[in-house]
Symmetry: C2
Subunit: 253 residues, 2 copies
DNA sequence: TAAAATTATTTGCATAATGTGAACAGCATG
DNA sequence: CATGCTGTTCACATTATGCAAATAATTTTA
């Protein structure tokens, strides 16, 4: 599950963090329950849990472990560090109002998209227990991002995360994806036609740093019964590209 | 720095997490800079950093490491798990409006108080880089909480966290603290008179679970020039106790 | 442009720290 | 009172980590 690292990966840390995430995902676990989820002896799990507790990442009520509120505070620190969050929020709400559809801003990290701000989490399956974390191959913004990477980078992303099917329409074949990405590149923005969720159409485009670094993506979408093709490639696409522009402009102030 | 654990503490995990927190605190660090902060060889630090990156807790731009946004998402998961957050927010704003002073709700965790919701972080020194994390011995809610613990538990808290001076008035002596706690117990709520910040008066009381477990504290406070003693022990104290009551009532619905 | 300095990364080795399973303890249930 | 269940401890084997020095990559300086 942990990704590639330069140098030597510390397995102790890896399993500790995996356990932390399991506790978060399962909203409180006992040692015995964890024992069923992880292939390690109880005594090892015990050490990890108690170490995480000692470091104030976990706490316990009786026999069940829970993630500490401290994690929430630490997380907010991360948000506060950047202007990105507040700036994007305004632009996303504006984009949503203008188009009448749901909009969101996602950040590219480790080959996934994390929703920083936007409408309520979409219909996506809660596959990793977290929501708000998306693949690149089946999202509008994600495809726009992949289209900007060179083949090598794309392969690296796919190697790490695969191409899980979300719907019937999800592109699960590398060659077909590369074709789609060529098209995306020519077009200048990404499209998903029910590849992410049944009945969902969306447009997405990439957002860049002041020095051209890929930050993430902006996207709008809605149900197919409300949006037709002309709109998707027309008004909606224009709105997204315009929003990207204002966002990038605002960021370099 | 890590606290006591039952069982064996995993040092690898401990230092990994310490490094994570250092990166968060210092808003991006290079390996070389970290080398100055932690007493470990560069090669070890490298392994920890890269492991944390592999697990998507850190990312890097060039040579500087930063904490991933993912931590923000994980943190939000923690908040979303509980009703406490939303319920307390309403009551805190109400309390603040009624009294005209700043109010906040803090949660007890690992012998510290974490501000879950409330007015902007108070004038406290940013001693652990995080703000929003308070000691028990020099806060109104904290003293109310300590007053409910038995001596053994109080000693444990003090052993772990000490009694750092925040101001001249901060109680830095155990015996004097225990005297103050006896008084607090009789009174039914905690008071700080410039012990937390110069010129700041505050009242705080404990908040309990549906089954009587200590959850945290609610408090109101403001500058000395606006609040006199009669008010502090009168209207303000009453307001806090009333707010605690509604909060607890709402929680068990 | 070359040399120097600064940074990150790799590697082999010694050893400490972790993984392991079995034994122990603590608690509720029947 | 015994029987399950839970979590906790322990001694041992082994592996994974810490370490220091060497290498590589990069930037700075001359």
């Amino acid at each position: 599950m942990p990704g590639p690292t330069t140098g030597r990966a510390l397995k102790t840390t890896q399993t500790s963090l995996r356990i932390l995430e399991l506790v978060l995902e399962h909203e409180g676990l006992t040692l015995a329950e964890l024992d069923g989820l992880v292939d390690k002896p109880k005594s090892s799990l015990h050490s990890h849990l108690e170490t995480l507790r000692g470091c104030r990442y976990l706490k316990r009520n009786g026999h069940t472990y829970e993630v500490s509120f401290r994690l929430a505070l630490l997380g907010e620190q991360v948000r506060r560090r950047t202007r990105l969050d507040t700036v994007a929020t305004d632009i996303v709400t504006d984009l949503s109002k203008r188009t009448g559809e749901e909009a969101n801003f996602t950040v590219l990290e480790h080959g996934r998209l994390l929703m920083l701000c936007g409408s309520a989490p979409t219909a996506a399956h809660d596959d990793d227990g977290f929501r708000r974390e998306y693949y690149l191959h089946n999202t509008a913004a994600g495809k726009a991002i992949l289209a900007e990477m060179d083949r090598e980078q794309v392969e690296a992303v796919l190697d790490r995360w695969g191409m899980p099917r979300e719907t019937e329409a999800t592109i699960a074949d590398r060659d077909r994806l590369f074709d789609a990405l060529d098209e995306t590149k020519r077009r200048g923005y990404g499209i998903v036609d029910e590849e992410f969720a049944p009945g969902l159409l969306a447009v997405g485009a990439t957002v860049h740093d002041e020095d051209g670094t890929l930050l993430g993506g902006l996207s709008v979408g809605g149900p197919k019964y409300r949006i037709d093709t002309a709109q998707l490639y027309g008004d909606l696409a224009d709105a997204v590209l315009e929003a990207v522009d204002t966002l990038e402009q605002t960021l370099l102030q």
